[in-house]
């Protein structure tokens, strides 16, 4: 607990800034996919852009989806998720590439992930409020470092793509050119599928927990040794953010129920 008080009018600012950054990134990806040209991929990111925009504007008339929040509920849900991922992995490795099985499995995973990602909380300001003072600088550094790395990769890929227009005899390879051959060998394909599923499982789990509960206080590692943001963590100080209202009490709970979609 940092003890920071939230000034009126400042509560939504970090969320709004992040909303805008995400929308700009998605718009840039749409443009780059149109330039490739890959209208299908552009349509996918345009869809993500639209959903993000509607979510930011609170204009998407979707019901709030209540997901398991008790420890037992989460364990059961994660067990089911693990079984689904194993079945999906086997199907993706065994079935012919780009066939109907791949299409069905990847689409189904997207459908499963969608409600977990949507969540019922959209309150970055509250999440930043519970970050202890001593962790704010390391967190900022991490955000800047990873954002810089991602931006560098994106710009380099874009540069290679643009160079391909002018150097047709020997165009510099894009990431797709390098990864695609791996998908033709059974072992390398299996490795790529496993990595993709494991990354997706972790991203979806974090999105689910953060989207339904808010972040964990720092320095309270869960049983898996990581700073978990969910009920698997233990410790008295954990209780605060384990509750959907972030520990703000009944008044906070009512506030969350009515304003849980703040930016």
């Amino acid at each position: 607990m940092s003890g920071h008080s939230r000034r009126p009018g400042a509560a939504t600012r970090p969320g709004r800034v992040v909303d805008i950054v995400c929308l700009v990134v998605l718009a840039l990806i749409v443009v780059s996919q149109l330039l490739r040209p890959s209208p299908r991929d552009a349509a996918i990111f345009a869809g993500l852009f639209a959903i993000t925009l509607l979510g930011a504007l609170r204009a998407l008339p979707l019901p709030r989806i209540r997901l398991p929040e008790s420890h037992r509920g989460i364990v059961i849900a994660e067990s089911i998720l693990a079984a689904v991922l194993i079945a999906a992995g086997l199907a993706l490795v065994i079935a012919p590439r780009s066939g109907p099985v791949d299409l069905g499995v990847v689409a189904a995973l997207g459908v499963v992930a969608a409600p977990l990602v949507w969540g019922r909380r959209d309150d970055l300001a509250a999440a930043l409020d519970v970050v202890p003072d001593g962790e704010r600088v390391p967190l900022s550094r991490a955000g800047l470092a990873w954002a810089a790395l991602a931006a560098t990769l994106g710009l380099w890929e874009l540069g290679a793509f643009l160079l391909g227009f002018t150097r047709t005899p020997d165009p510099p390879p894009a990431v797709s050119d390098l990864v695609d051959p791996l998908m033709n060998g059974p072992l390398t394909r299996a490795a790529v599928v496993v990595v993709w599923l494991l990354v997706g499982r972790e991203l979806t789990r974090l999105a689910w927990l953060s989207g339904s509960r808010g972040p964990a206080p720092a320095g309270r590692p869960g049983p898996d040794g990581a700073d978990s943001s969910g009920a698997r963590s233990s410790g008295g100080g954990q209780r605060r953010s384990d509750r959907p209202d972030g520990g703000a009490g009944e008044g906070g709970r009512r506030q969350d129920d009515s304003r849980g979609d703040r930016g």
Binding site: L48, D102, V117, S176, M183, V193, D227
Partner: protein, 70 residues
């Protein structure tokens, strides 16, 4: 030559990512671990949609769609 430079840059970026992840796990007092960063920024729905959506698209891109022209 340009291909070597391009691939080399990709390798350097990946190595920097591995280095950053490793360092942040060992020295969370300097740089927060990626797990901690994500658990915080995922309080934003837009961030959740962006990152998980991009992950899903990677699977779509390489597993479902023909990535390269024949």
């Amino acid at each position: 030559m340009s291909s070597v430079v391009t691939v080399g840059a990709y390798v350097v970026i990946v190595l920097l990512g591995v280095l950053l992840a490793s360092y942040s796990r060992r020295h969370p007092e300097h740089i927060a671990p990626l797990h901690r960063l994500l658990s915080t920024v995922f309080a934003s729905r837009a961030t959740r949609i962006l990152l998980v959506g991009f992950w899903w698209w990677l699977g779509w891109h390489f597993l479902v769609g023909p990535t390269l022209d024949p």
